[in-house]
């Protein structure tokens, strides 16, 4: 029962936020910021433990699996494009993934973040399951990493359109790669607004960023973490 209730309430609030966001495009109304805020308010008001909510919402979280699999379709449909742009993809994602790790590391050092926070924030720019894997590998806290991944997604989805506008990025290839690299699935969802090509490149960026960061997690990040002892 609670599962049905939680799922329906979450869905209705999500639909409402999406409609609102379409009418008044304002970063605060981003579905991944506004809907959770409403839900947190509701469960606080009715004194429902957060874990009861999460237990009830399991079906929704489960759908992340099939939803990730679904992104095979834009890749399949645009295979020729991907072959044509393979060099650009390789260069941008290698650079992007390194920039993600190094800026997270540098800024955390600068602000004297605690060790557990610092280590857990390093794999934050990639998709949740792999970020957790890398986090475990480098001695971070996987659950804390999940939180940082979600925050990355919220930020990325919110600033995406302004960044693309500010740097006058025209090509769907660059738009897609930037969104998928910097904000994983949430960025890829945003890329859908820029058409199928952008979605394809974003999907590929998301997958490759995760795979390559898995490699950094084995060879590069441990030596970075070693530096702070």
């Amino acid at each position: 029962m609670i599962f049905l209730f939680v799922t329906v309430v979450t869905y209705v609030l999500y639909r409402f936020t999406k409609a609102l966001n379409n009418k008044v495009s304002f970063p605060v109304f981003h579905p991944l910021l506004f809907t959770p805020t409403l839900l947190i308010g509701l469960i606080a008001l009715f004194r429902i433990p957060a874990n009861d909510y999460l237990e009830g919402a399991k079906v929704l979280t489960h759908m992340l699996g099939p939803a990730t699999i679904a992104f095979a379709i834009p890749i399949y449909k645009n295979l020729d494009l991907l072959k044509k742009y393979s060099a650009i993809i390789a260069v941008s994602i290698t650079a992007g993934s390194l920039i993600a790790v190094f800026t997270s590391f540098g800024l955390s050092l600068l602000l004297h973040l605690d060790r557990s926070f610092l280590v857990s924030v390093l794999p934050r720019s990639i998709t949740t399951p792999i970020a957790m894997e890398v986090s475990r590998e480098i001695g971070g806290l996987p659950t804390l990493t999940t939180v940082f991944v979600i925050i990355t997604g919220i930020v990325g989805g919110m600033i995406g359109p302004s960044v693309i506008k500010k740097f006058a990025i025209q090509s769907p290839v660059a738009k897609g790669l930037a969104l998928g690299m910097s904000a994983h699935g949430v960025g890829t969802n945003k890329a859908m607004e820029y058409g199928e090509q952008a979605t394809t490149f974003s999907t590929l960026a998301m997958i490759l960023a995760a795979s390559i960061t898995l490699v950094w997690g084995k060879f590069l990040i441990p030596s970075l973490v070693g530096l702070i002892a």
Binding site: P31, I69, G96, F117, A174, S182, T188, N189
Partner: protein, 122 residues
Amino acid sequence: MKIVTILIQIIFIHVFLLLAIGIKSLFSIPLPASMIGLVLLFLALYFKIIKLEWVEQGANWLMAELLLFFIPSAVGIVNYNEIASWQGVEVILIIGVSTFIVMSLTAVIADGFEKLKRVDSQ
């Protein structure tokens, strides 16, 4: 009728998820099952084992509503009291700045590279 089609196709996509879970446990691949499933679905389409029409509507719905599936995890942030601290504010700032740098540099690099290639081929 469209809802029924979408629903059946989502169930069908689960076949790839189950296959992926099986393969993952058999060969202990360090990738999440969903990514292995993505590769499997791609291969099934590429080698024409299944038709695009069998999965397309369900897949489009899943991709369009992706944010919905992230919402519970975002609500789960309340379980981390550490975030409601000065350190939490700092880490959000770090994530914001870093995400901005990653996004803009990736965009500029990809855009620049593409323009360079276009000039080359002319």
